[in-house]
Amino acid sequence: MTAEGEIIHFDNVGLRYGTEREVLSDLTFTLYAGRFYFLTGASGAGKTSLLKLLYLAQRPSRGAVRMFGNDAITLSRASLPALRRRIGVVFQDFRLVPHLSAFDNVALPLRVAGHGEKDIAGPVRDILEWVGLSERIDAVPATLSGGEQQRIAIARAVIGRPAVLVADEPTGNVDPEMALKLLRLFEMLNRQGTTVVVATHDLDLLRKVPDSLIMRLERGRLADPTGALRHPPVRRT
């Protein structure tokens, strides 16, 4: 049964790599459409592992995961791409394709989704302008600064208008001014209806998005200071 507005639900989820001890344990939470979530925790708390579960790079070792009404555990490999296209990801290390230009990197999700070139050029140029990189449209990642690569990664994550945007430490490699600018970009997307999940250990960032919900990981377990993760969201004041 799917609660109204629910897009992702984790039920008693655990994750272990090989035979090691669990890096994530007993995670039970629900993400709702149109909300802004911060995922916090110390280094090694399991933030990146949880994000990997969210953007379907890993399957959990136990528990149940429901995404967009689908059982993500039993979902066939062939059904995964369609689900992944609904999730935009900003990787901590950007993961841009090194030999492709900024334009081609940003266009990649649209090409993957099978859009024709005439439907790609306009939106890609627009989004590159939106992240302030219209002048660097033909630059390859190696010639871009960390902040510029970060913005290309964000542009790539949002070009397909995903239902959920997952960002892993998106402000980790940029100066405070750029960090704030990126945060405003995420807020703008959020206002347009995208659910945003930002993993960060920068507590100052949390205060800058007053309507956000906080998920805190401690040694692989979820602390739920607001209680909002177990119940329909209540706006923080």
Partner: protein, 318 residues
């Protein structure tokens, strides 16, 4: 390249072609850097295609020679009249010819002229023996019999019985029996050529499999990104399939050209031998068509191998 330059390129190539080049899985070739996929691959394919085409040409040529020779002598029977006295031999030859001609199934018969017999033994004994020794060597008379169908043992036996009724000096043999060991050797060579083609095909598939695996390993990061962006296995496989297809097509064309040069040179050498069996082995237009198909089939094989290798490997990724 600037966007202006891209636009100029687009105008030059035509939008549809550029569209095809760029698309993932279509123009996905750009997604996988070409330098990593090419390298020695086109040359390996060129060598494989050249060797396959040469082996196939040899097989076809031997096949043609065997078929032509078989068609020529399959219905042939030779009657020898082994009689030292010339006048008796001539008379017996005429009588045997008359008796055999009346048999059912005999479509033609020819008494081989004396001059032709002399020319047959000339390479071994030389010419002018009669003049030099005062008497000719008693060479058996030959009757070349053509049967409407194959020279089965029963038919040969019927002819033998008819000839022996005239003279005990008659010896009857099916022409095909003389050349059976030669045919068997040629068929063995033909089987060897077919086996070589099969082995080279397997070797080509193995080379492509290794190349695809190595390219997959080298591009693992990019493939993972494409997957996480929602790319399907088929899209990724299409990129590799296309890239290896281009390599195979280029290599195949070079290989075929090399093979053609070798085949034409060898054909000229064999023409110079002037041997009947070899002359019959000339390649017909259907054979050349088959040879032209080698690079096309090699390209298809390379693409299919690449596709299945990549799909199989991707199945192990999430």
């Amino acid at each position: 390249m600037s966007r202006d330059a891209t636009t100029r390129r687009e105008r030059r190539l035509g939008p549809s072609m550029l569209h095809g080049m760029r698309r993932l899985g279509g123009g996905g070739a750009e997604l996988i850097p070409q330098g990593r996929m090419s390298g020695p691959m086109p040359w390996v394919i060129a060598i494989m295609v050249a060797l396959t085409a040469i082996a196939l040409a040899a097989g076809l040529s031997i096949g043609n020679a065997v078929s032509a020779a078989k068609a020529e002598i399959e219905g042939g029977v030779t009657i020898q009249i082994i009689e030292p006295r010339e006048d008796t031999r001539d008379r017996q030859t005429r009588d045997v010819a008359k008796a055999v001609q009346q048999l059912p199934g005999v479509s033609g018969l020819r008494i081989v002229p004396r001059e032709e017999l002399d020319s047959l033994i000339e390479p071994w004994l030389g010419s002018g023996i009669a003049e030099a020794t005062g008497s000719a060597i008693p060479v058996p008379a030959l009757i070349d019999v053509r049967l409407a169908t194959g020279a089965t043992p029963q038919r040969v036996e019927t002819i033998r019985a008819a000839a022996r009724k005239v003279t005990q000096a008659a010896r009857v043999d099916a022409q095909s029996s003389w050349l059976r060991p030669v045919f068997e050797a040629m068929v063995s060579l033909q089987i060897l050529a077919i086996a070589l083609v099969a082995l080279l095909t397997l070797a080509l598939a193995a080379a492509v499999l290794l190349a695809a695996r190595s390219a997959l390993g080298a591009n693992r990061d990019v493939i993972e990104i494409v997957h996480l962006l929602g790319g399907t296995d088929k899209q990724v496989a299409r990129v590799f399939q296309r890239s290896i297809g281009f390599d195979a097509a280029g290599g195949g064309a070079v290989g075929l050209a090399l093979a053609m040069v070798v085949i034409v040179l060898l054909a000229r050498r064999f023409e110079g031998l002037g041997a009947g069996l070899v002359d019959n082995g000339a390649l017909g237009w259907t054979d050349w068509l088959l040879l032209a198909l080698v690079p096309i089939l090699a390209t298809l094989l390379a693409m299919i191998t690449a596709r299945f290798t990549v799909l199989h490997a991707l199945r192990k990724m999430l």
